[in-house]
């Protein structure tokens, strides 16, 4: 891992390009991205559809390979890894949360959460123990034996988050995590991610088009046409009362006589 100041860098992207297709069908999805994300940081990637935000997430997650430039996760340059090594990176260093939850319908909550560990060849008892802890963390410790079909969308997404955490990854990648949820369960999901950052020091990179979700992050990166057009670091939050005090319009207006 590289260290910048006191904070370690979770990911570092330099001059990243991604091109799909050839000649006449050629599309440059990413046109030179430079981005550093520190450990324990919560970054939201925003942008209109087709801006390359999902592609960026896939490159960071080792699901796709950059055409040029370097993508380093935990100090490891992904370009130097073969397919099996990329698989190992996804297995041990990255947790994915998808819009459609992507739980395995025939497995129970705890089995879904334990899946990455089972894939990694960890003994079932040990895997279940860790999966149980991850379920506790998302507040579903009391329902380990329910199947996804028996749970609400919000609960399913929390199970998916528990699954993404169970291998204690360097990085949690979320792709429109509230896209299939109503606004109340969406808020709960976002607060859970925020809490993981604040209390567990988890690094989270999230793609979203929802301003309210993006506002939960520490930093917003705005993409357009494969380029970062804007970056905004959001100031730390004051107490609730301070926030309220800073909102104008609450003072009583003068009544007309």
């Amino acid at each position: 891992m590289t260290t910048t100041g006191t904070r370690t860098t979770a990911i570092a992207l330099h001059g990243v390009h991604k091109v799909f297709g050839e000649s006449s069908t050629r599309v440059e999805a990413l046109a030179g991205i430079d981005l550093d994300v520190g450990a324990g940081e919560f970054v939201a990637i925003m942008g209109p559809s087709g801006s390359g935000k999902s592609t960026l997430l896939h490159l960071i997650g080792g699901l796709d390979v950059a055409t040029s430039g370097t993508v380093a996760v935990g100090g490891e340059d992904l370009a130097s890894l073969n397919d099996d090594q990329l698989t190992m990176l996804r297995r041990r260093k990255i947790g994915f949360v998808f819009q459609a939850y992507n739980l395995v319908s025939v497995l129970t909550a705890i089995e879904n959460v334990a899946l990455p560990l089972i894939i990694d060849g960890i003994a079932e008892s040990r895997a279940n123990e860790r999966a149980g802890r991850a379920l506790d963390l998302v507040g579903l410790g009391s329902r380990p034996d329910h199947r996804p079909g028996e749970m609400s969308g919000g609960e399913q997404q929390r199970i998916a988050i528990a699954r993404s955490l169970v291998a204690e990854p360097v990085l949690l990648l979320a792709d429109e995590p509230t896209g299939n949820l109503d606004s109340v369960t969406g808020d709960q999901t976002m607060r859970l991610l925020r809490r993981l950052v604040d209390e567990e020091g988890q690094t989270v990179i999230m793609v979203t088009h929802d301003a309210r979700d993006a506002a939960m992050a520490d930093r917003i990166v705005r993409l357009r046409d494969g380029r970062i057009v804007e970056e905004q670091t959001l100031p730390p939050v004051k107490s609730g009362a301070d926030v309220l005090a800073s909102l104008e319009g609450l003072d009583a207006p003068e009544d007309a006589p």
């Binding site: 607060r191 909102l247 003072d251």
Partner: protein
């Protein structure tokens, strides 16, 4: 917002003197707001004049006498009428961002993109504060009045941000 009717509402719960009225407004009715004393007494005077409240003087031993205000039957009717009618929807469309965009769009050197970016940063900053304050409100058993105001703030900011996206798209089409 009508301070006049808010005072009628507070007095409907029981007689109060001026200071009590003011603190009930500031702490319970509209949290974190400020109501100046002059405004309270001016409003009370008008209510007395219109016969909506009456007052009696209560003598106190060690302090000056105080006036205790109470609702008249007429005042109760007025309060009922207010609650029973729809408020005028608070829809102030003449906001400053809009004005800036319209100006920037007309000027040859006008950087409307810069305006949008700045306004958006500001909105995001406040939304960041509001969403997290709202999240904490749920955790810390904050009074309902506060959580409802925070919800209003979050939704308004979200609306503003979405509107900025639309402005960006529409203006982008106009001047590619």
């Amino acid at each position: 917002m009508s301070v006049r009717h808010a005072i009628l509402g507070l007095l409907a719960e029981g007689p109060l003197h001026g200071y009590e009225l003011r603190s009930a407004y500031e702490n319970e009715l509209v949290p974190q707001s400020r109501l100046n004393a002059g405004q309270v007494y001016a409003t009370l005077d008008r209510l007395l004049r219109d016969g909506l409240v009456h007052h009696e003087v209560v003598a106190q031993n060690d302090r000056p006498d105080k006036k205790v205000f109470a609702l008249t039957a007429q005042g109760r009717d007025e309060l009922g009428r207010w609650l029973g009618h729809a408020s005028k929807v608070d829809l102030d469309l003449r906001n400053e961002t809009f004005l800036k965009l319209m100006v920037a769009r007309r000027l040859p050197e006008g950087d409307w993109r810069g305006v949008i970016a700045l306004e958006r940063r500001g909105a995001f900053e406040r939304l960041h504060q509001a969403t997290q304050a709202r999240a904490r409100a749920d955790r810390d058993a904050t009074p309902l009045s506060i959580t409802l105001l925070l919800d209003l703030a979050v939704l308004k900011l979200e609306g503003l941000l979405e509107w900025l996206d639309r402005c960006e798209e529409a203006l982008g089409k106009e001047t590619p």
